[in-house]
């Protein structure tokens, strides 16, 4: 074989320089430009969590007069709906940002740039976090004057719940993005289907022991079940059980690694099947 210049020292150095925050900022900037240019999108992001919060606020007011459980856990339902929206928006933030690239037929341009798939993943995850904050913070702030419920009163445990749900949302977003890359945009409803399939098992509005005994082990295999059980423990004055938090963190680490690996595998499959230039509406 003839001398091609080989993988010289400079190339080996380049291979080592595998992560660039500047390239990640390109991914972020692209989606921030889209958001900045569309006020209806921004308003819609905050609209649905706010509507959900108001709905559950009134349900709480009603049940607090008829249920000792709701009455003793101040704001348990409103806090649950706000935390659920952290997971929901984080998942959608990643999946919709990825689908945006497919709708725009932009995947080809992205994958012929030196942007590494891991940088794309990090960019989408950060964007998922931004979308989550835009969606959930206004609803959380409005809940204080409207229903006298402050999720911020949870203190440090709130940060732990938020981080765990955000990361699990990223994992689900990666899973959905990988599936859509494999199956095409016809499968875009998976962004909603997957997360709603988990809702009944996550014990968002009720304790896990309400579930049939067959489903309880499945529920406890999800970090969400530990987070919402932990949330109820804090709101009912029992403090944050360390075991719950540790289980959520461990499961999250497992699912994040699995989802990241799945996404990278789907990118590899797309390169084998020639899907990266074909995707689009």
């Amino acid at each position: 074989m003839r001398d091609l210049g080989g993988e010289t020292g400079a190339v080996r150095a380049a291979t080592a320089a595998t992560f660039s925050w500047r390239r990640v900022s390109g991914v972020l900037l692209r989606h921030l430009y889209v958001l900045r240019r569309s006020v209806p999108r921004l308003l819609e992001l905050a609209y649905w969590p706010t509507v959900q919060m108001v709905l559950w606020g009134f349900i709480t007011q009603f049940f607090s007069q008829h249920s000792s459980w709701v009455a003793s856990g101040a704001g348990v339902l409103v806090t649950a709906v706000l935390l659920w929206d952290v997971l929901f928006r984080s998942n959608l933030g990643v999946a919709l940002s990825f689908m945006e690239e497919m709708w725009a037929r932009n995947l080809g341009q992205i994958f012929v740039s030196p942007l590494r798939p891991i940088e794309l993943v990090v960019g989408l995850a950060v964007m998922g976090g931004v979308r989550t904050l835009i969606a959930v913070v206004p609803a959380a702030v409005l809940a204080m004057p409207l229903f006298d419920v402050s999720v911020f009163a949870l203190g440090l445990p709130l940060a732990a719940f938020f981080a765990n749900l955000l990361i699990f949302g990223w994992s689900l977003g990666m899973l959905v993005s990988g599936l859509i890359l494999r199956l095409g945009l016809g499968a875009e409803s998976l962004a909603w289907v997957v997360i709603f399939a988990l809702a009944p098992l996550s014990g968002v509005y009720y304790p896990i022991d309400v579930l049939p005994s067959l489903l309880q082990p499945i529920a406890y295999a999800l970090p969400t079940a530990w987070v919402f059980e932990g949330m109820r423990a804090v709101l009912f004055g029992d403090g944050l059980p360390a075991g719950h938090l540790a289980a959520a963190v461990l499961l999250n680490a497992l699912y994040a690694c699995a989802a990241g690996a799945f996404f990278l595998l789907m990118v590899q499959r797309a390169r084998e099947r020639g899907l990266l230039l074909q995707q689009g509406e």
Binding site: S25, R30, G108, R271
Partner: protein, 268 residues
């Protein structure tokens, strides 16, 4: 002119002898289930040359370009670009090359400036604003920078996509039908620009085109594809003489209409 300066060595750009071929394809095939899109092709593209990849629809040009870009993994064989294996280690090569096609969009809702800013960062440029200014002046798109990309005409869009493809001062430029759907005046402008860019930067260009006049004007070398194979190769003048024709258009028709096996695959 500053916009054509070749890319200086960076942490992400492969160092390679100037004379080494920029592209080497060795026994490359691509099968999609039972369909053979590309069948055991081998070729090299010389540094500093403009090479055309020609063939009728379905000949395998886009599949070949996709494998050169690392977007598609060959079923067999090896693709080396700027000294990098495009399956195992494509990123150093991608940092030093670029791609333009009318069939791969830039986000339509972003302005031209926003799109170029995004891609400048994806190519790890330290001073994106400065580079965008240089390219905007060179490609006469300064007046378009704050317009939405989706609202541009075909000619304007072509110049914007070219600007994107020059952001990183590529040493290798892959162009898929660079003047498709352009009026003759705009097409001529793009061809003149590419001639000037190549002359001043020393970059290598590989282009797929259906415009044979463009190929005669721009290219030093032509690779002819049919049914996934490279069936002939040579300089445009040499091919015209060899086929006893007046133009590349006639040569193209001869090759495209001949039966499989009429022209033997040409070694690289």
């Amino acid at each position: 002119m500053p916009f054509v300066q070749p890319q200086p060595p960076t942490a992400d750009a492969p160092a390679q002898p100037v004379t080494a071929p920029v592209i080497v394809a060795e026994g490359v095939s691509k099968h999609f289930r039972n369909v053979v899109a590309v069948d055991t092709i081998s070729f090299e593209v010389a540094a500093g040359a403009t090479t055309a990849l020609l063939g009728g629809n379905g000949a395998g040009k886009t599949t070949t370009l996709s494998m050169l870009l690392g977007l598609l993994i060959p079923t067999a064989g090896r693709v080396t670009v700027l000294g990098c294996d495009m399956v195992r280690n494509r990123f150093p090569a991608l940092a030093a090359m670029n791609f333009s096609s009318p069939y791969v969009d830039l986000p339509r809702r972003l302005t031209v400036r926003e799109n170029l800013s995004v891609y400048a960062r994806m190519y790890d440029l330290a001073a994106p604003g400065e580079r965008i200014g240089e390219l905007a002046a060179a490609l006469d798109i300064e007046g378009l920078l704050d317009r939405t990309t989706g609202a541009l005409s075909a000619g304007q869009k072509t110049r914007v996509v070219l600007a994107k493809s020059l952001l990183n001062r590529p040493r290798l430029l892959l162009l898929d039908e660079p003047t498709a759907s352009l009026d003759p005046d705009t097409g001529d402008w793009v061809r003149s620009f590419l001639e000037r860019y190549r002359a001043e930067s020393g970059a290598s260009i590989l282009l797929a085109s259906h415009n044979m006049a463009e190929v005669e004007r721009l290219c030093d070398d032509v690779l002819m594809m049919r049914a996934g194979r490279i069936v002939d190769r040579g300089a445009p003048g040499e091919l015209i003489r060899r086929y006893g024709r007046q133009t590349m258009e006639e040569v193209f028709l001869d090759i495209a209409r001949s039966r499989d096996g009429d022209a033997a695959p040409v070694p690289a």
